[in-house]
């Protein structure tokens, strides 16, 4: 399946782009992360510590074990610091 992957804050900076279309065979977020980690050094770096990352599917916060089925948009970012 195809999914749009978005990166924010230092994840965006490490990977070097804000969003990209990704062809994946993963069934859940963790599987997608594994695929991304093996791509290039900058991905491996960005995804080296998952405890420092949060994920949203279709603009809803979720967990790394969430299924990807039907997802259009998956976003990775650090814990939020608004307010």
């Amino acid at each position: 399946m195809q999914v749009e992957v978005l990166y924010f804050a230092w994840v965006r900076e490490r990977i070097g782009l804000p969003r990209e279309m990704v062809e994946t065979t993963a069934t859940d977020v963790a599987g997608l992360v594994k695929e991304l980690q093996t791509r290039e050094e900058r991905y491996a770096l960005a995804f080296s510590d998952l405890s420092a990352l949060r994920v949203a599917i279709d603009q809803e916060l979720t967990d790394f074990d969430a299924p990807l089925k039907g997802a259009r948009e998956v976003a990775f970012f650090p814990p939020m610091t608004g307010g």
């Binding site: 603009q59 916060l61 976003a75 939020m80 610091t81 608004g82």
Partner: protein, 145 residues
């Protein structure tokens, strides 16, 4: 009212417009967040957000607050982009019949905005740039609700 914007706004004007429409509510609470410069070294704060998700996430918090504390009105304004020291970053206002509800709802909205609205702050200083780290206390604050 919910606004996610790069433009500056006037907190006093927001408070007065908010107060004018709360009708018979006795209690209005506002929170205003400003850019701090603890070291005197800050050039500006860069605020990034996730367009689309930001509005959804804040809208959901506001709906919850409105229902739980029976608010008559509730406003959130949050800026993104480049903000200078002492500039206003964001504002929350709540109105209810009684003060306890207005205070709790504002407090709740701030806790959720801190940890569940997709904003990220970067301090751009003369000595370098640093992404503001989330505080464990902020995530733990959610357990209060």
């Amino acid at each position: 009212m919910l606004a996610v914007q790069s433009a500056a706004f006037d907190p006093g004007q927001v408070l007065n417009e908010f107060t004018a429409k709360v009708g018979n509510s006795g209690a209005v609470v506002s929170f205003t967040g400003l850019v701090r410069d603890d070291t005197g070294d800050l050039k500006h704060m860069q605020i990034e957000h996730y367009p689309g998700m930001t509005e959804k996430a804040i809208g959901a918090m506001m709906d919850k607050a409105q229902a739980r504390w029976n608010l008559t009105e509730c406003t959130v304004i949050h800026r993104y982009g480049e903000l200078a020291p002492n500039e206003v970053i964001m504002m929350v206002a709540t109105a209810a019949s009684h003060r306890v509800e207005a205070f709790e709802a504002a407090d709740y909205l701030m806790d959720y905005l801190k940890s569940c609205a997709p904003f990220w702050k970067k301090e751009v200083s003369h000595s370098g740039d640093i992404w503001v780290a989330s505080k464990q206390a902020d995530e733990e604050a959610l357990n209060r609700w």
